[in-house]
Symmetry: D2
Subunit: 300 residues, 4 copies
């Protein structure tokens, strides 16, 4: 299969979708982003292909949750006592479930769960520092960094996440002071990366735990299990629809990116900032739908 040609075709096919949807307007710095579309595929043998704005950095937002979860699991399974693995079945930052289940978030990919993961990672040192080290190493781009303007913008609109964190603290499910966890969380979400860099950085999930330098980050089971959590919980309350249409483990962010894994083959990253009502990139989902239809590479 000629992946380069395939990606160009997908970029053409989804062009009518680019510009549809709404950008995330609750974060001013994100609301100003220019429309566009990019797609990159990194295969397990080291090749990378792309189309469109695949080298243009964007805000990774919730896609960062995949990497912090992997870094925490690389240190052990303890975090699973503090966060579940079930789909939330509710909008992505709901407090309802948290109250019914005594401060234990449903899964690590809703905001409450990601705050727990960041809190756990913070117990081992500088969470954002560890995350940047990993992303720089995997992508080969030493200049990947937090976008300070986005971080400042998010910090000024973080009352709901602050509420989530204090609520979990009231149940004893916060180890570090809420302000410092929130600071780490806001900064991890504000990292800017290109489709190419995200796809490269997520390849360890297609390789069942093996990093780009051949060392092992995670055991085979842990890597497969992150894929499972991505498939059931990675796209907010549209996980069922995403599995139905795309059929791959995937994790989206309100910056317009989605990273998806074809186990044993490749990691894919798409980006386009217009979001659907559930917070997933309109053109991004369409592109992944085309990708699995054309390649036949869904997991099902």
């Amino acid at each position: 299969m000629d992946l380069a040609a395939l990606l160009d075709r997908i970029a053409d096919d989804v062009a009518p979708e680019v510009g549809r949807g709404a950008v995330a307007d609750y974060i001013p710095a994100l609301a100003r982003v220019r429309p566009g579309f990019g797609i990159a595929v990194a295969d397990v043998d080291g090749g990378v292909h792309g189309a469109g704005d695949w080298l243009r950095p964007f805000s990774v937002q919730s896609m960062s949750k995949v990497f912090t979860l992997a870094l925490v699991l690389a240190r052990g399974d303890d975090v699973w006592t503090r966060v579940g693995r079930e789909p939330s079945g509710d909008p992505f930052n709901s407090l309802v479930q948290l109250e019914h289940e005594d401060g234990i978030p449903r899964n690590p990919f809703i905001n409450a769960g990601a705050l727990v993961v960041t809190d756990e990672l913070t117990c081992h040192g500088d969470a954002v520092g560890a995350l940047l080290s990993f992303l720089r190493a995997e992508s080969g781009h030493a200049d990947i960094d937090v976008d300070a303007e986005v971080a400042a913008s998010e910090a000024g609109h973080a009352d709901r996440n602050r509420a989530l964190a204090y609520f979990m603290a009231s149940y004893g499910n916060m180890r570090n002071p809420v302000p410092s966890v929130l600071d780490q969380y806001v900064r991890q979400c504000s990292i800017a990366m290109s489709c190419r860099d995200v796809a490269r950085s997520a390849l360890f999930l297609a390789r069942h735990g093996i990093r780009n330098d051949g060392t092992r980050l995670l055991g085979l089971s842990s890597a497969k299990r992150i894929n499972a959590v991505m498939l059931t919980c990675g796209t907010y309350d549209a996980a069922g629809e995403f599995a139905y249409r795309v059929g791959l483990p995937g994790k989206s962010g309100v910056g317009g990116g989605i990273v998806a894994i074809v186990p044993g083959r490749c990691a894919v990253c798409v980006w386009s900032p217009g979001l659907d009502a559930r917070g997933n990139s309109v053109a991004g989902v369409a592109a992944l739908d085309r990708f699995t239809t054309l390649t036949g590479w869904s997991v099902f």
Copy 2:
């Protein structure tokens, strides 16, 4: 891989789990079932292997929902206007979600959704008759039938499902009279089959829509998408955990059976009547966990 030996090994490995859990006691006829364990694998080339009580018929219960969904989708996609595709995130027969979402059930594998599927199938004629024809043809066992005692027992304990059906009717989401839909539903759940027969009958999902006689029941996309719905919604509110541990599309029933699909390879059916708190077979889940660990055949 020597599947026969593998299944024997799994039967040995999970022996300590057999008898654990609780049988479904709200249906008297199920509460009296003897303990046991069976596993069968039907591969896409036609081979079938088994271990333990793999030829012993048991009550398929909610596993029937996979087959009625397939039979409805074989006639078109209309049913998706009446039922969603998202995990429920709530216990398996919850009315809460149904009320919040105006009588549209979250997915076809919770009871409310399955009632809609049965109602839709009933629009095309005798739903149970069509289901039995399909199962008899696929399994090669012409004597597969409804267990009249189980059906009578369930019909006497169906007030909650009756409530679900009338509730959907109040939203205009029932096409046929509730008593006749309930009768079809109770009888479809009361069909008795062995692990061997279930695995054979589910093979079309591993073959992306092709029946055992080589004819096509469903298009490739539809078949893949049923697998996707099974993975995200097939084991009540433990779908995330099942994906995490087993990593296969699967559908469980309170009779103690679970059917799972390895796309492109095989269909697996396990049975053991002791259920965990979420209604899934304790030894069955353990056996599938062993199966994917030993074969490496999870979809992730």
Copy 3:
């Protein structure tokens, strides 16, 4: 105070509100009712005054719940083991709460609770017969009866109440067969009475349990306690607002009637079929608001 003049003044004051709101359109026979307004006050000494359409019969609907509750409590307090006394805080026929609280309705004035009361009354014989006897005796009108057309119309639109009843049956909280309880319930709601007759029939609550013939229906405490339940739960999820604006125990019906009690003084019944979003008569609430403002007779 010249009550006759006062009621005329109130009728004038609320004239602009008459015709506002929407009639209950889910029951065809109610949807066709002509606009109008009536108010009647029956005082504890036997006098009755009225204004507007105070002699015109209308469908009592949920106002019947006050009388069935009183008739059940006249036989003992057992019903309180099957139904609570707390405001529901949710729309008037919600199943959510019923599921969270194991089939025990929040209070006797939401539909689920009233079904339990009717079921309990049915254990002692013909519920509707007992109710009609009581209403005929108190009002002095022997021709008070069920409106057969309204009853037939409601019976054809009772799926939601049927769902509620079967749902409670699934928790063991139904003593009689659901179809017969529903039949009694639909017929009790379909009784037609005038404002005059309702006010006369409710006087026992203003007289702390004493009927119009001087005999005692209920003990003083029981009568006061029905008033308490009316004040906290009598107007669906607008009970707080009704207490705030009107300040009297009251019970509304979707037929447009509201009965209110001034303990120790009088019973008031207003009627006007236009309903607000919460199911209470727009002109009726406005009239009661005027009534307590002009008389100073709120309980607060």
Copy 4:
């Protein structure tokens, strides 16, 4: 009626209840309080009677919500755009409802609603200062003050209230910075007063808005309406039960106090620190139940 003798009798009658229930253990300073019982009645003519520990100061906690609401309403009705008037139907600090209703708390007596009231009062200056001035003037005790130890203890256990406040801030329903509102809220709850002083301070509600010095704090309607909100919402999710048993507007606090109003007659304050499962004083509710039974002074 000899009130002094009546109160002694009530103190005797409820003696077996004193010590029952559990003290509020989430606030360490409250968990250490000694058992006891006090009752005081302040009548509208200026007389005050008491029994038991009626002069012993205790932590007013949520009873303070009545006074801050009155002080806010004395400045206008604007606060009603930010908080509702309906019973919550849920435990007293639930976030569920807040999420469903876009950051508008159900009523001013649940924690979220009281935070809004305190926030609103803070817009006019020092909320706790205004509250202390009022309480000192009404009670005639210039030394009424915040208990610094209790305030410190609460401030250290305020994560849940902090979560509520940030959550409302995320909906734009907080005017002042959350830390300063929380500080005011914690301190208002930590005021220590005796039954005598609380009863005296609440007399304006029995006098329909008139303070002890004869000046008017609130209009007649506003005062009656606070009573209405107390009756429907004053005792957490036991408001229906309290109305049923006691039949008076009342507001409880987890310090073990309850203040109740007999409109036109008197204000009553009871105190005993053992709480029932819903956070209301066990002996306190029993005493008020005896009080209305013996006097016949329920509002119904």
